[in-house]
Symmetry: D2
Subunit: 134 residues, 4 copies
């Protein structure tokens, strides 16, 4: 059991009917994706052909900001707002899809390949959580 | 002319057809709203009846995170992605509406009244920018 | 009176003896610097010679993250911790000095010139607030 | 091997002599601590005696912001700045110590106990990394 699970496990109130496992997965993927995208943006900055990677860097930075905001929001349960959760998950899913697609075009660079895979995992975790919201 | 305008004015490339004035307004309101919501959450923590304000505090924290992520994204123009911009603006508009409504219920507290007004300004700036995206 | 001042003015408890005006100035400069550095990093990405600006971009991104964290922390007063405030202000001052120096080397680019000036203002506001902490 | 390690492993340039394993540990703990503190702040908001936990909540929020900024900064290596890294690690170490101490006072609440342990791990990872900087 990871720390994210433990923090959910020890929450002193009801989680509002949300699927605990899908929530924990999504929180984990959001923080992991924020880190991977931040690292990938910087790795792109260290490539010789950085001039051809500027769109990828911007996409990484957007995705990192949105994933972090989503992870933060999903870590809070007091006064849970299903509508806001859903729209934020949709924004996050779209940011991850967009960044994952761009990184996948550069999969000859190992950092973009790893980052693309993380974006896919986060996108899927967001979708699984949205679907479970009913 | 504010610094946000100057940073847009000195941008070395095209802004992608976005309305520069509405963009600048929205960026400014996003950062101002992140600050106001962070301050309002803490002011609520200092109120005697904090127990009745927990939903407001959570809403403030969500709104701060989302407004900051939106302000960051809007401050970047390289590889501009209209679809992602739109969905993030919608998330931000919804977070501001929700937080503004909750704070407005506590308008006898001056910090919630000020914060509610800032949330309205940010909500409107997001809507004006979305409408201008066509 | 700006919104930052109003949020301080309406705070329901004591601010712990901190100089209200220097605090408000520093909060404002931190958020303004987070925005300017984020915008400058992206403007650098749009320059033809982006390959020569990678250190500047990284410095902008670090400074944006640290200024935002500092602005957030300074916006909270409940359970004020003078030691932590001081060390965070020192980190922020150093990030601003470093980023301001690097941007000043590129002052032929208007975005770096504007950003360097904002970094100076934020650095000075942090120093003035530290000095007032006694 | 975790994703943080993989992103470091695939970095296309030199890491500037920093200890890769200590760096990876510290990055991981910073993001984990940002999440745990955000979750703990919200769990405190759901406790019946929230009024006695306001200092803990503020400390959690400060620690989350500082840990995230530190994790972001440590995830970037282009234009590495040893002095800034050191002062930011010191700020993070202090935030984690302070938050860990406050949470440890409430260790009868499982979320504060878990969060205190995470703050200790992050504090130690920051210290180990600082020591390795020489």
């Amino acid at each position: 059991m990871t720390l994210v699970d433990q923090m959910l496990e020890t929450y002193p109130a009801d989680l509002g009917g949300i699927d605990r496992r899908k929530l924990a997965d999504c929180i984990r993927e959001c923080y992991a994706c924020a880190q991977a995208c931040t690292a990938c943006a910087d790795a792109c900055l260290s490539e010789d052909d950085v001039a051809s990677l500027t769109k990828c860097i911007r996409s990484n930075l957007d995705c990192a900001d949105i994933c972090f905001a989503t992870g933060q929001m999903l870590s809070r349960h007091t006064g849970y707002d299903a509508n806001l959760t859903r729209v934020m998950l949709e924004a996050c899913m779209m940011a991850c899809k967009s960044c994952g697609d761009i990184c996948a075009e550069h999969s000859h660079m190992a950092h973009c390949r790893e980052c693309a895979e993380q974006c896919r995992r986060c996108e899927e975790a967001c979708r699984a959580l949205i679907d479970s919201l009913g």
